[in-house]
């Protein structure tokens, strides 16, 4: 499904919408960026609490098109600017990674 369709159903806060037209085929939940790099499937939504610029770099290199920041963690401006540059959407929720994961899993 498309990023925007998933986001619409979950009603999560949209911080960057540049990747909203991308297709999501899978998901990956991890706060360990090396783990994301090595194991996250392409075209995934990444569910994480790592909200900084390097998350965007990892996502971009691993072919991830949307980030979902959990526990309402603050997302710095340089992170959001980098995401917009790379065409990656960023959403935020007060849900934990666990809760967000099963909600996303149910939809894709």
């Amino acid at each position: 499904m498309k990023v925007k369709d998933l986001a619409g159903k979950l009603n999560y806060e949209c911080l960057v919408s540049e990747g909203d037209e991308n297709e999501i085929l899978d998901g990956y939940t991890s706060d360990l960026l090396s783990d994301v790099m090595g194991n996250a499937p392409e075209d995934s939504v990444l569910i994480t609490i790592q909200a900084h610029k390097n998350t965007v770099a990892v996502a971009s290199l691993a072919g991830i098109t949307v980030l979902l920041i959990c526990n309402n963690r603050p997302a710095p401006d340089d992170m959001l600017a980098a995401a917009a540059d790379e065409g990656i959407s960023v959403y935020r929720t007060k849900d934990s990674q666990f809760t967000a994961s099963w909600k996303v899993h149910e939809l894709i």
Binding site: L32, S34, M37, G38, N54, V58, L61, G63
Partner: protein
């Protein structure tokens, strides 16, 4: 006359593979319009006109008894026998095909018997479809189209301006998380331009990013060099120290010397070097404590060569 100008013995292997892989049941028309033995030839002529077909199988239940062709209808018209029952004029010795036969059989039959259509039976000798030269031609064109698209994607983009060898260099500073990933992003863009397979680019990006982060996190500073050849990418990550005390330890998944701050950023889990080795076709690490570390990773960009590498 050969109705389908295909040689089923020595056509290009792509075509041969296609006509053996496709089964008659994939190509035939399933909803066959049939008539019973007692139908008049005139009724059959009406069916042909309505359905715009040139042959009608005559059945009893699901069993095939014969077939009436346009020619049979014309002959009865000529002789004034158009009101006769179909079974008096149908062709009884019908040549049939079976649904599980490869398509090549149908092509050979068309060639051998000069009929425009063949009824298709299943294992229980029941009529399940009919195959015409038109069905075959349509399907072959569709399949060849798919095949050509696939082959075209495999051809390296010859018109790419940057198809020769190329070298790219980047400097990495200690704890410069701001710019970490820049080299990897640049190399990814350059490879994309060359039309390299997405999966291979990802492997190169993974290797490159891990090595880049290693320099930023663990070293006094260093640099990344990428040598892009037409069939491979070589990544050389070198730093000015402090060097690795035990390379074997560093290559063990989970082993890490990273501090808590680095870990809080999501790095330093001891997965970096093992990740690099896993996605590379060739991997080499040399380190001298007090001097520095150089990691060299090579990834082949020609799909046939990289197929031997386990999938990530």
């Amino acid at each position: 006359m050969q109705s389908i100008p295909f040689n089923t013995d020595n056509s290009p292997s792509v075509i041969l593979e296609l006509i053996f892989r496709l089964k008659i049941k994939n190509v035939m028309t399933r909803n066959v319009r049939t008539a019973c033995k007692q139908c008049s030839m005139r009724e059959i002529q009406k069916i042909m006109k309505e359905e715009r077909i040139t042959g009608v199988p005559i059945t009893e239940g699901s069993r095939l008894c014969g077939i009436v062709s346009m020619e049979d209808v014309l002959n009865t018209m000529d002789e004034g026998l158009i009101e006769d029952d179909a079974h008096k004029h149908m062709t009884r010795n019908v040549i049939v095909l079976e649904e599980d036969m490869p398509l090549s059989f149908a092509i050979n039959y068309m060639d051998k018997y000069h009929y425009g259509r063949f009824p298709v039976l299943n294992m229980n000798k029941e009529l399940v479809g009919i195959i015409t030269s038109r069905d075959i031609v349509n399907h072959l064109l569709l399949e060849m189209n798919k095949e050509m698209t696939r082959l075209e994607e495999m051809i390296p983009k010859a018109d790419s301006v940057e198809s020769g060898s190329q070298e790219m260099n980047f400097i990495c500073h200690r704890y410069d998380f701001e710019n970490a990933g820049k080299a990897s992003t640049e190399i990814k863009k350059a490879l994309k331009k060359r039309g390299i397979d997405r999966k291979i680019i990802r492997r190169i990006a993974v290797a490159s990013y891990e090595l880049e982060i290693n320099i930023v996190v663990h070293s006094e500073g260093g640099g990344m060099t990428f040598v892009i050849h037409p069939d491979s990418v070589k990544i050389i990550a070198g730093d000015r120290g402090p060097g690795i005390a035990d390379v074997e330890d560093a290559m063990t998944e989970g082993f890490s010397t990273a501090n808590d701050w680095i870990r809080s950023l999501g790095f330093g889990a001891g997965m970096g070097l093992p990740n690099v080795k896993r996605v590379s076709d060739e991997f080499q690490i040399e380190s001298t404590p007090g001097e520095g570390t150089t990691v060299t990773a090579v990834i082949f960009t020609n799909p046939p060569q990289s197929e031997t590498v386990p999938e990530e």
